[in-house]
């Protein structure tokens, strides 16, 4: 049976989220003199960009936690104690053959 996989690249909601956040991270939607409005010395538009950047980090966290799942560790085992490289070469030939 083929290995199982759930991956972000095949999820429409992931693409949608990334596109919306990417569009908002580019500061095209501010007035050219927006630097005059500041909060604690930081222009408001810059705070907005930082806010969207943080939203992107949070969205990445959500995507990794919920949209990415494979059975590769269960099927092929974790890294440690897999034996030496010769064994893995053998395993690879089996897979390819």
């Amino acid at each position: 049976m083929k290995p199982e996989m759930s991956e972000p690249v095949r999820k429409r909601r992931v693409w949608l989220g990334f596109i919306v956040l990417f569009v908002l991270i580019n500061p095209w939607y501010f007035a050219s003199d927006a630097g005059a409005t500041r909060l604690m010395g930081i222009p408001l538009w810059a705070l907005m960009v930082l806010g969207v950047s943080l939203a992107l980090s949070i969205f990445i966290t959500w995507t990794i936690n919920t949209q990415w799942q494979t059975d590769s560790d269960e099927r092929y085992g974790g890294g440690k104690g897999r034996g030496d490289g010769h064994d893995s070469d053998g395993a690879r030939r089996d897979e390819e053959g």
Partner: protein, 500 residues
């Protein structure tokens, strides 16, 4: 990034020597704990595919953030003001780009015991031509990347020690240390030292920020100064600035994610959960690193007004000098900061060298020159040829050739040409092998020629033009020629998954 630090002479030498001894100790520790490691490619180049969350995270961190982030970014923020805020999201973009190929590449790495990015290309296309071309492009790009790090180490050391240690001695000292600990412990040494180097760098930039805020005034006074003298530094970018902002996001995101040493780290994760947790941490690091050095640059605008472009390159050195004169705490913190900067350059160089050697060991020597060699011999071949390459690069760093110097500048431009084979190959069973080969070759030649001629149509980076041509040839060639039944069957077998 030549920074002269008047405050630091012998204390700089002391910190560097201490740092060198520490790195060697880490190498020895990794060696003693994992005897027999040199016998196997998996053990030497991937740390036995057993890197845990913390170490994996710091080794990703070290490949993305180098000394240049600390020394080079504040001057850029100084000159561009808030328009350089893009440096925070572009580091997040790298993780976003990873999510489009890392899950699948990790699964395939486990299943087929992949060791290097070229290993994957060989498995997918079963073509000697494609594999060798990909290997050559990667080796070439990595070698130039390494050369750049060597030059930066020399300049950093001579700057930190106020010229007490000459450029050449600094380069030789750190290269010997780096090669020694890499040989002793392979990927484990590299990853453990990355952890120490990353912590030193983080401590340094935070002290620099705190000191700057305390002694030079905060962001409000910087903003008032900008409002009066250069209000454009406070405003959002104009249309040309937006184009630059956009292309930086795209280029850095794609470029940094597909660096061969970055891709190879995916294979060394202990488990999928480990890889995921490391990526999640990486997604927040831009605020703590790029964001912090950006603020330092902004504070510099008011603290050191009116610097020319050339003078502004020395900004971090000037701020560190001024802070070091305040008291003993800041004096030593600044010495540690510059030690951390050099550490960060060394930690980038060691990752690059290890990946370079692994491609020699596994993809050239092990696959084509002597396929029946034992793993021990393959590792040895990688180490020795890596060492020869290092010696040649040192000679080049010493005596830069007067003409054709630009062929040593090409890095990213050629490395990125492997991306279509690497990424399209993960998803497209019909992808035509010959189209991949021609695309990769044409893209690399175009990027190289454009760079050498200094040609940048529409202001777009030469590497991106090469990538466009490359991708177009891959796609159009595949649509026209298709793939034979056996090729498709093989591709289905390799990249076929059940989806939920």
């Amino acid at each position: 990034m030549e920074v002269e630090l008047a405050f630091s002479g012998w204390s700089g030498i002391f910190v560097l020597a201490l740092y060198g001894i520490l790195m060697l100790g880490v190498g020895l520790f990794a060696f003693l704990r994992n005897r027999g490691m040199r016998e196997s490619l998996d053990e030497y180049y991937l740390g036995g595919r057993g890197l845990g969350v913390m170490v994996l995270f710091f080794t990703f961190f070290a490949t993305q953030y180098s000394g240049n982030t600390v020394i080079g970014y504040p001057p850029t923020a100084y000159r561009m003001g808030y328009q350089y805020l893009v440096s925070v999201p572009f580091f997040i973009m790298i993780i976003m780009v990873y999510l489009f190929f890392a899950p699948r590449l990790y699964a395939l790495g486990r299943r087929f015991s992949l060791l290097t990015p070229v290993d994957w290309i060989e498995l997918r296309f079963r073509s000697k031509k494609v594999s060798i071309l990909a290997a050559i492009l990667m080796l070439y790009g990595l070698a130039n990347y390494l050369l750049e790090q060597f030059v930066a180490i020399g300049q950093g050391v001579s700057g930190l020690t106020g010229g007490t240690i000459p450029y050449q001695v600094g380069v030789i000292f750190f290269i010997i240390i780096m090669v020694a600990y890499s040989w002793l412990g392979g990927m484990r040494s590299v990853a453990y030292t990355d952890t120490i180097q990353g912590l030193a760098l983080l401590f340094g930039v935070f002290t620099l920020l705190i000191g700057s805020l305390y002694y030079f005034g905060g962001l409000p006074s910087a903003a008032e100064y900008m409002q009066a003298s250069a209000p454009e530094k406070l405003n959002p970018p104009d249309s040309a600035g937006l184009m630059r902002w956009f292309s930086l996001l795209v280029l850095v995101g794609i470029g940094a994610a597909i660096y061969p040493h970055a891709v190879q780290r995916i294979f060394s994760a202990k488990s999928e959960a480990t890889l995921k947790r490391s990526f999640i941490r990486m997604a927040y690091m831009p605020f703590l690193t790029a964001g912090v050095v950006f603020m330092v640059g902004i504070i510099g605008i008011a603290a050191f007004p009116g610097l020319s472009t050339a003078d502004s390159e020395q900004l971090v050195g000037m701020m560190a000098n001024a802070l070091a004169n305040q008291n003993a705490f800041f004096y030593w913190a600044m010495v540690l900061l510059f030690g951390g900067v050099i550490a960060a350059i060394v930690s980038t160089a060691d990752s690059v060298l290890l990946t370079f050697s692994s491609i020699i060991s596994n993809d050239l020597y092990g696959r084509y020159i002597k396929p029946d060699a034992s793993e021990y011999q393959k590792v040895l071949a990688g180490k020795l040829i890596g060492l020869v390459a290092v010696v040649i690069l040192i000679v080049i760093a010493w005596y830069p050739p007067a003409t054709l110097y630009q062929i040593f500048v090409l890095k990213f431009e050629v490395l990125i040409q492997v991306a279509p084979a690497l990424i399209l190959g993960l998803y497209w069973t019909r992808l035509n092998t010959r189209a991949v080969f021609i695309g990769m070759l044409a893209g690399a030649v175009m990027a190289g020629v454009f760079t050498l001629m200094g040609y940048r149509p529409l202001g777009i980076y030469s590497g991106l033009w090469g990538l466009l041509l490359n991708t177009a040839i891959c796609v159009i060639g595949t649509l026209m020629a298709g793939v034979d039944a056996a090729g498709r069957e093989h591709a289905r077998k390799v990249i076929g998954f059940r989806y939920d």
